[in-house]
Symmetry: C2
Subunit: 69 residues, 2 copies
């Protein structure tokens, strides 16, 4: 299991945190995520080698936010 | 049918608008509502005499926001 923290732009409240987390948690290989709109970050726990940064980025963008790796 | 516009504190994004709208739309007599987080307002359409300001206020507070009548 690996943990990675990304910067996320556009989260303004707890609802936004949930939207980002749900988008990431749906990815195969992701075990969980914790977003923080005040810091503008999300910490993702996932099985090493299963998910690429590009997939994280796309998932977050589809939810309406921008992930900076 | 009557329309009333209230000030709402605490909405920071479109999710917040939806939360406020859903809380108001559940009230008996309410036909619809439109929240705007940028202006901090919500416009409610309802059948005259069916809902009190206190009921609007409670519904919005339960959703986690503050309504100023």
């Amino acid at each position: 299991m690996t943990e990675k923290t990304f910067q996320v732009e556009g989260m303004s409240c707890g609802h936004c945190e949930l939207s980002v987390q749900e988008a990431l948690d749906e990815l195969e290989g992701v075990r969980g995520s914790k977003a923080d709109h005040k810091n503008g970050t999300v910490e993702v726990t996932y099985e090493e080698g299963t998910v690429t940064n590009e997939q994280f980025k796309e998932a977050v963008e589809e939810a309406g936010y921008t992930l900076r790796s």
